[in-house]
Assembly symmetry: C2
Homo-oligomer: 207 residues x 2
DNA sequence: TTTTTGACCAGATTTTGTTTTTAGTCAATT
DNA sequence: AATTGACTAAAAACAAAATCTGGTCAAAAA
């Protein structure tokens, strides 16, 4: 007699278990068998859903990236007043979201997205998408007459992202006295000040 | 009969040999004895000039930092036109200077100044001094009426430095397509664009 | 017949024990 | 008084053995 699939959302359960275990123990120190045991299934079953361990990681990171992207999309679509002001607020929110993810547990796989040189090339799609969101903001700003249309290009988006890079991990806080990692409050203050200058700069470059 | 010191500038010679060998082989892979042999002196003599190996490294890095600082000082004193324009040019020059140092040979001890998490706390003085230079520029800009005097403070200097951080090592070039390390030309283009926005932002914040 | 499993394997990683290197000292030498 | 290099303790490099783990697949379960 034909056997029916016992669990339908197995892939999803594996993802959830992976988030849990990767966050607690880190990616390298979590084995496929750990994940299987955690769910009470056989190791082989994991490989019925994912081809490799890395694929699980990528899926987990992807999920996180999509959350942030969704937030950005939502805000890109519903711009009320000034697009540039909206860009500023969005990036502040984005920086804080990432901070919360990463500091909740430093082993969180999302941290890899920002810190791992090894995986960085694999995440390029994420960065490209982020760049596209910024470009969208710039185009809206051009439509609203806040910046010159010829400034609403990819190059300007990259420049903006480079300027804002220090608001994302790894947090190299060289110029402040404080020894240890930035606090959430420090980040918020820095982000506000830096984003203000960057956005004002975009505006000014108009003239 | 009392013996006289055979070499007067021994400390200096040791520094020069250290730069040479550290650059070629790296800090860890250069031993004190290597340095001594390179100069044809005894190992113990090195310790008559320096207390530890790390002290030699710090001296070497210090020397490099002083060179960059001297450049900045020279430009701070001789501001012809707009202080903000001068700040922009100075930072472009600074970024390129550092790039040349660091890429000449990746083992160059100066690279540590920017890349080593281990040594970073030891170099805080360098960063503070750099911050002070920026502050000086801001004060001159305030005097010239380019920015509001209340903006010529430490906090703004830090914000500016954070914004310009991606122009210095380690070069995290996330948002560009290119896989490998930034070329000098790419850096120059990026630096010009980013510094323009930052400086324009400082000016705009005035209003 | 289809789904699930865990024993199995090769390669990577960790551990353990040994050897070599080296930062720093100091009694002997110049 | 100035200089040296043999010396030491600790660290680093290395090698060998033991363990772990990503991925496979024939067999078991349904």
């Amino acid at each position: 007699m034909a056997r029916t699939k016992s669990i339908h959302n197995r892939a999803e359960l594996i993802e959830e278990a992976a988030v849990e275990l990767f966050s607690r123990y880190g990616y390298e120190r979590t084995s496929i068998e750990d994940i299987a045991k955690h769910l009470g299934i056989g190791k082989g079953s994991v490989y019925l859903e994912f081809r490799t361990k890395e694929e699980i990681l990528m899926r987990v990171v992807e999920k996180h990236a999509l959350k942030i992207q969704a937030m950005m999309d939502e805000r890109t679509e519903n711009i009320k007043g000034s697009p540039l002001e909206s860009l500023k607020e969005t990036f502040l929110m984005c920086a804080l979201m990432v901070y919360d993810y990463v500091t909740r547990d430093f082993h969180t796989p999302e941290a890899l997205l920002y810190t791992s040189l090894q995986f960085k090339p694999r995440f390029s799609a994420f960065y490209v998408r982020k760049r596209e969101r910024v470009l969208k903001f710039l185009k809206r700003a051009a439509e609203a007459g806040e910046i010159s249309p010829r400034k609403a290009n990819e190059k300007t988006a990259i420049t903006f992202l480079m300027g804002a890079a220090s608001l994302f991990p790894p947090y190299f806080n060289n110029y402040t006295e404080s020894e240890q990692r930035m606090t959430r409050d420090e980040l918020e203050q820095s982000a506000k000040a830096l984003l203000k200058i960057l956005v004002d700069g975009l505006r000014e470059s108009n003239k």
